[in-house]
Symmetry: C2
Subunit: 297 residues, 2 copies
């Protein structure tokens, strides 16, 4: 099958490129730990060509992610929610490189919650646009900064960021809670215990996490299980808050690889809600939709 | 006035000794950043004498703090709540050093909350025993690991630890939330804004703290004010949870130096509750009471 365009997911710490057919089928994939932060001289074109240099320069490129942030190739203003893929298509920034590649940059979405707090994302919205039309309208993209995204029809209407992955890493590496931890395989029971504690008392985060130490001190949690328990406490706290305003029969779609995605599927299930895995490469579908709406393919 | 005993507050990172008269009056004070973690060879006696070597060896010593923990001079089992100063006096561990000093070690208190979570403290209970009889029965000892302690008569009946200070430090130094921060004087307004956000949505901690970044990105919070704002978010989250089961007309006593203590007084005040400063050296009074009940003075 002939490639129609190149999809680019260029984030803070990783680079992913996909050669894509007109129907959205992925023909070839490249990935590297070369996020925008590793491009120190601002020469994003050279960085791009070092990866996809052998790919046909006539193929249009559709790029999304932190590549359009202040630290990226070109900073693009956010499109405000509610917003659809068509809104992103209309806001594309077009650029032709010295080597003649045509790149369309898709910006991210901003959202102002009722309490006045601004929120931002770049790329998660594309994953969601690539996942619509299958019944669900609640999406989770777990990670360093998890996003909980709600759609209505073809639009993203609201979302919230949770600093979950980064807080967990900081607690583990830089507080007393990590001191008694020993490496070990994931402990599903300890994880579930942490999630249940969080669901029962979501406002008590700063208190509850101390139990990762005290249960260890009292010999009631094995050193190899403490990390799983603390992960459950942190993810459970996120889940308890993120679901609070949604109907109980809502269906949640987790957009992530099975590792981190599995923890979220389990935690959301422990909260008694409907949850399933989505397509971890939904960003390609989303970029295909945007490319089509912009008339690029 | 003649000294009656030496009070010793020996914690993880600091050493404090007080020469005390029989009525509890402090006659002399020594403090040094020589917590138990700096005693690497286990020679606590030499460490002690390096500080109070010139003080009369005939004076009995009353010691409290992490010095009775696993990493301290002698590990003592906790006394379980509810517990009074008399209970601690009965559980004193007596030791005579090679140089002839008689030391009475006061252990700490454990507590098992209704949800089954164990909690531990060493020294904060002595501060509270030194603060009783003045009407209040809710006490806060802010810090790395804050404690919220409730008394009934002469007993501590329950308490809870919050990992607040340590979480704030980790967020500031080791997450994206610290990236936009610039040093500056405390910003009381930004602190109050953070506290109010936390009081309005205590379960949303992992989401709300992201605003320390997004408000900075949108130019709605000055770089010099972000640390105060985040401090308000973190302390406000602690306060919102710690007060939830107490009567609205409860009086809170903050046992801390004015710096960190002032933030707690302000946050508790913003929650609409009665709050006042306690005696930051209440630990001396507490050790005096225990020494008296044990017949040491």
């Amino acid at each position: 099958m002939a490639p129609a365009f190149i999809a680019l997911d260029w984030g803070t710490t990783s680079f992913r490129a996909y050669k894509v057919a007109g129907d959205g089928q992925v023909l070839d994939t490249l990935s590297a730990p070369h996020g925008i932060l590793s491009v120190t001289d601002g020469n994003f074109e050279a960085a791009l060509e070092s990866h996809i240099g052998t790919w046909d320069t006539n193929l249009p490129v559709m790029a999304a992610g932190m590549i359009t942030s202040r630290q990226g190739w070109i900073e693009l203003p956010y499109v405000a929610c509610p917003a659809s893929a068509a809104d992103l298509a209309r806001a594309l920034h077009h650029h032709t490189t010295a080597s003649g590649r045509r790149i369309a940059f898709a910006t991210g979405l901003s959202y102002r919650s009722p309490d006045g707090m601004p929120d931002v994302m770049r790329s998660e919205e594309v994953q969601v646009f690539g996942s619509l039309g299958q019944g669900a309208n609640h999406f989770v993209t777990p990670g360093t900064h998890s996003k909980w995204i709600t759609t209505d029809g073809d639009r993203i209407v609201r979302y919230a960021t949770y600093v979950t992955g980064e807080v967990f890493a900081a607690l583990k590496a830089h507080t007393i809670l990590g001191r008694l931890m020993k490496d070990g395989p994931d402990d599903e029971q300890a994880f579930a215990q942490g999630v249940r504690g969080a669901l029962a008392d979501p406002a008590g985060f700063l208190h509850r996490i101390f139990s990762a130490r005290s249960l260890g001190l009292f010999g009631e949690l094995a050193p190899e299980s403490i990390a799983s328990y603390l992960s459950g406490q942190v993810i459970g706290t996120e889940v308890a808050h993120a679901i609070r305003d949604n109907p109980r029969d809502a269906e949640y779609v987790v957009l992530a690889s099975p590792g981190i995605g599995g923890r979220y599927v389990k935690a959301i299930g422990l909260a008694g809600l409907n949850v399933r895995y989505g397509d971890p490469e939904a960003i390609v579908k989303g970029l295909t939709i945007i490319a089509r709406q912009a008339g690029l393919i």
